[in-house]
């Protein structure tokens, strides 16, 4: 009896599943090997976390005719996808902030060496890896120290200043396990305090002292800025583009007047593009054209207007391109950390932070 009476429900379920397949089959799908109509170009799959990527990919397609499929997401989920796809990568090109992940991908043999042959500024040249496994196309810096000038007068100049009584319980930063730019910030701090040989120990000691002075840890740039606006902290250590965006957009009042300074030696955090070594030759050629386009004056112009209060607030590394007004001048004293050294330490440092500083 049961088998009879179940049948209509089963039939309905199966019919539903088939209908689903039909309906969903009508929707878009794409992968790196799909061919677009007539032109011979294949679709270039771009994984990107940049706020201006939608504008740039559209402009690129308009300029070259090459169709692009854009997977726009935060850096964490994108790198998780890249990791999950390791035995069958679907991305043609990866574009995120920070080069530590690229150094690891390069070590794993996942990146195509490519030299775009474009002259860069002196800061830009320091960011180029010797094997050209990836291409820096812009830069921001970590940390920018944003503070509420309406409430405090003390302005720190060095990391050591933040350990003073004037800053007790007033400093906030992001959690490196949730905020992409924060591990490079900590790695930069370690590199500055003790170099590659003694940096980890010196950095851990400094962070524990900062915690003893009341450091508050918030998940991401946005949360640290929210804490600054609501008076939970008066100083925030965040990425330069987020700080510049806040200064440009926040409504100033008697209680709130955000300003930005840079501490000692600031660490450059480049916007980086890598090309999938396993992609077809055609896709790789298109990805190379994409890199060329992004480094051209036309590409940079789209980057500078695509996300005016967010990621567009970067310092160009192509000579002759002026930064947008709101970002201000690039810090004179900066460093580039070696991603092949600091990249593999990310899990160890984040675990330390998780267990001792948060």
């Amino acid at each position: 009896m049961n088998s009879w009476t179940r049948r209509p429900a089963f039939g309905a379920a199966v019919a539903g599943a088939l209908a689903l397949g039909t309906l969903a089959g009508c929707s878009s799908s794409s992968n790196a090997s799909s061919v677009s109509g007539g032109s011979g170009d294949v679709t270039l799959v771009v994984y990107s976390s940049q706020g201006y990527d939608s504008a740039v990919t559209k402009a690129f397609t308009k300029a070259t005719g090459i169709p692009v499929s854009l997977d726009d997401d935060s850096t964490g989920p994108l790198l998780a996808k890249v990791g999950a796809e390791r035995n069958n990568p679907q991305w043609g090109l990866l574009w995120v902030d920070g080069d530590t992940a690229f150094a690891t991908l390069d070590k794993e043999g996942q990146l195509l060496d490519y030299n775009p042959g474009v002259t860069l500024t002196s800061a830009g040249e320091t960011l180029v890896p010797s094997d050209h496994a990836y291409s820096p196309v812009s830069t921001t810096a970590v940390p920018a120290l944003i503070y509420n000038a309406a409430k405090v007068t003390a302005v720190p100049k060095t990391w050591q200043d933040l350990l003073g009584a004037a800053y007790k319980d007033k400093v906030g930063m992001n959690d490196p396990s949730q905020s992409g730019p924060t591990y490079p910030l900590i790695a930069g701090l370690m590199n500055e305090l003790g170099g590659e040989s003694g940096g980890v120990a010196a950095g851990e000691k400094y962070l524990s002292e900062l915690k003893a002075n009341g450091l508050q840890v918030h998940p991401t740039n946005g949360d640290t800025l929210h804490a600054l606006e609501t008076g939970q902290i008066d100083y925030g250590l965040i990425q330069s583009s987020a700080a510049a965006g806040e200064v440009a957009t926040a409504k100033k009042s008697a209680n709130y007047d955000p300003k930005v300074v840079y501490l000692g030696t600031t660490t450059l955090l480049p916007g980086v593009i890598g090309i999938d070594k396993g992609a077809s030759a055609k896709v790789q050629q298109e990805a190379e054209k994409f890199v060329q386009y992004v480094l051209s004056a036309a590409g940079q112009a789209v980057m500078q207007t695509g996300d005016p209060t967010g990621d567009s607030l970067y310092w160009p590394i192509v000579p002759g391109i002026e930064p947008v007004k709101d970002i201000g001048t690039m810090p004179a004293t900066y460093q580039r950390i070696d991603p092949s050294y600091w990249g593999p330490l990310e899990t160890q440092v984040n675990t330390y932070f998780d267990e001792n500083i948060k």
Binding site: M1, W4, T5, R6, R7, P8, A9, F10, A12, A13, V14, G16, A17, A19, L20, A24, G25, S27, S28, S29, S30, S69, D71, D73, G76, P77, L79, A80, V82, G83, A84, E85, R86, N87, Q90, A101, S177, H218, T220, N221, G222, L225, H226, E229, T230, G231, Q232, E246, T249, K251, K252, Y256, D307, G310, D311, G343, E346, T347, N350, K358
Partner: protein, 584 residues
């Protein structure tokens, strides 16, 4: 003789075909279950033992990923998660039972409103509830600005009490739906029998609770599994409170570079073991008992008239409950969506409706909403159909082994956080061997919808489980005796009885899918972001106001669609359908 020999093979063939036709839907059903649940989960969990399998390490067999799971914050996170799951499940069941009883069995005013509030609560993402409470109690938050002393409450919120409280709020509607579905089918004759035999209120409550055991255990299991796999609270309140939970540790393993899928899979096994314990408890409690109380002679229960003080007291309790559950997060979301900037509540706040105008006029913001609404409609419809089959299998007296396997699989799907589940889909459907077989589902809408179905199926089938389990076989047998065929008897007997629970399950799935984030994030087809991905994008680029405005619009859209569906049901469904399952 010749005729017989000619006919016999034909009859055998007919029987064989009929046999195949009977078995084919079963085979197809299990094929679908294997494709959307079993394989992705299994392949993901295998990575814990064999990292090399998907190029996630060098070893074909290793147990090192489990070492990390049983030390330091990870071990603490596992213990915290177990505590959260047990306490949240118990509290949600108690409150859900009380609300279901009040709404179903008393004449308390505003019953439809309370029932509607439960659906609204179901649609509110857990992190939004956490955000609302944080906004109220954070330093320089609303209570601080109003000079209300809140340091004790703040201390409680940013700790285990706050985490359990918010997760209980999220669990209450699940418990309510499961228990009220069971309560609706439970006629008054059992209560009358207790009273006839001299039983008081307490005896009645005990008897009713015992008869509702499948629904109550169902609610305990689902809330437990939902709580241990929740990430919304884990990443906000629990993280801010430095209260480590297993899901957050698991997400950290996946969301940080280098991605550690083997460690994430090891934590997945631990969550799975916890869910398995919940299921064992459920089976031990319900074994060898029948709860089929809905038959031809069942009489709908009457609503009880409360005394005046009783009405006032009950009403006050309901208002307070929904103020705490819905009012606070609504306030948090609306205040954030009306502000420019990042939401300071001090002098500089600039309130405006501009964010809503922006969300409604920008294609980048409203197109994802349309796309997600379409996907949620397809998902809800298919999930309810499959969920019905699942509920039937789970409550059937036959095939207990397959039912147990299915139940385990479903609870596993709930207990595994979404992002892990999504990674399992990538492992499975991006395998070169799968592509070589001509299956190219990865990065398509089809796979996204299949994943949505897989993640919403457990909750939907559990909503149906209580009602389907109550329907006695005799009803359909009587219909068949009176000449109905299988389909006819199902449509005339079962559908009227199950129409309301089916609509409940549809509404639950629609609402849950519309704002689903973790699966969408990893599986959305390039160029077609879902609304949750759009919101996440806005939030991550510091457009808090725009993102929250989209969130409010999406929740309102979900409520509007669900309201419309129930409105159509009220207008179009035969009077009997609407009356069945209601109390007089």
């Amino acid at each position: 003789m010749t005729v017989t020999t000619l006919v016999a093979p034909a009859t055998a063939r007919t029987r064989a075909v009929a046999g195949w036709a009977r078995k084919a839907p079963f085979a197809l059903f299990w094929l679908l279950v294997a494709a959307i649940l079993l394989l992705p989960i299994l392949l993901f969990l295998l990575v814990a033992f064999s990292p090399r399998l998907f190029d996630q390490g060098t070893q074909w067999f290793a147990l090192s990923s489990f070492q990390g799971a049983f030390q330091g914050p990870m071990l603490q996170g596992i213990a915290d998660t177990l505590l959260i799951g047990v306490v949240t499940a118990a509290l949600s069941a108690i409150v859900g039972f009380a609300v279901a009883w009040i709404v179903q069995r008393t004449r308390v005013p505003g019953r439809r409103l309370w029932s509607g509030c439960m659906f609204a609560l179901l649609l509110v993402p857990s992190y939004l509830i956490a955000l609302g409470w944080e906004r109220l109690l954070e330093p320089s938050g609303v209570l601080d600005l109003l000079h209300v002393p809140d340091s004790v409450a703040r201390g409680l919120l940013f700790g285990p009490v706050g985490v359990i409280g918010v997760l209980t709020v999220k669990g209450i509607p699940f418990a309510y739906l499961a228990i009220s579905a069971g309560l609706r089918g439970l006629g008054e004759e059992f209560e009358a029998a207790v009273r006839v035999h001299g039983g008081g209120r307490w005896s009645v409550t005990r008897t009713v609770a015992a008869l509702l055991a499948p629904a109550i255990w169902s609610s305990l299991a689902i809330v437990f599994a939902e709580s241990i796999s929740d990430f919304g609270v884990a990443s906000t309140l629990a993280n801010d409170a430095h209260f480590p939970v297993a899901t957050f540790e698991l997400y950290s393993a996946v969301d940080n570079f280098p991605v550690q899928f083997p460690v994430a899979a090891a934590v997945g096994w631990i969550l799975l073991a916890m869910a398995g314990l919940a299921l064992l408890a459920q089976h031990a409690a319900l074994r060898n008992r029948s709860y089929r109380v809905l038959g031809g002679r069942a009489r709908p229960a009457r609503r009880r008239e409360l005394s005046r003080p009783g009405t006032i007291g009950t009403l006050a309790a309901m208002v307070l409950l929904f103020m705490l559950c819905l009012g606070v997060p609504t306030f948090g979301a609306i205040s954030a969506s009306l502000m420019t900037g990042l939401g300071t509540l001090e002098g500089g706040a600039n309130f405006s409706f501009g964010n809503y105008t922006r969300a409604l006029t920008s294609p980048a913001l409203y197109q994802p909403l349309e796309y997600s609404a379409l996907l949620a409609t397809i998902t809800a419809t298919v999930t309810v159909l499959i969920g019905l089959v699942v509920a039937r299998l789970l409550t059937s007296r036959h095939g207990r082994r397959s039912a147990r396997m299915l139940d385990l699989l479903l609870i596993t799907a709930v207990a595994l956080p979404g992002i892990v589940f999504a990674a399992g889909y990538i492992f499975t459907y991006n395998l070169p061997i799968v592509n070589d077989a001509g299956i190219h589902l990865y990065m398509t809408t089809t796979l996204l919808v299949l994943a949505y179905i897989a993640t919403s199926l457990p909750a939907a089938s559990r909503v149906l489980f209580g009602s389907v389990g109550q329907v006695q076989e005799s009803l359909r047998e009587a219909s068949r005796v009176h000449g109905s065929n299988a389909a006819g008897s199902w449509l005339r007997v079962m559908l009227p009885l199950l129409a309301r629970p089916l609509l409940s399950a549809w509404s639950l799935t629609f609402g849950g899918t519309l704002l689903e984030l973790p699966v969408s994030q990893l599986l959305y087809p390039p160029n077609d972001p879902t609304v949750s991905v759009g919101i996440e994008r806005a939030l991550s680029t510091y457009d808090y106001a725009g993102g929250t405005a989209m969130e409010v619009i999406a929740v309102l859209a979900a409520l509007a669609v669900i309201g419309l569906v129930w409105g159509i049901f009220q207008l179009v469904a035969p009077a009997g359908w609407r009356r069945l399952g209601r109390t007089s």
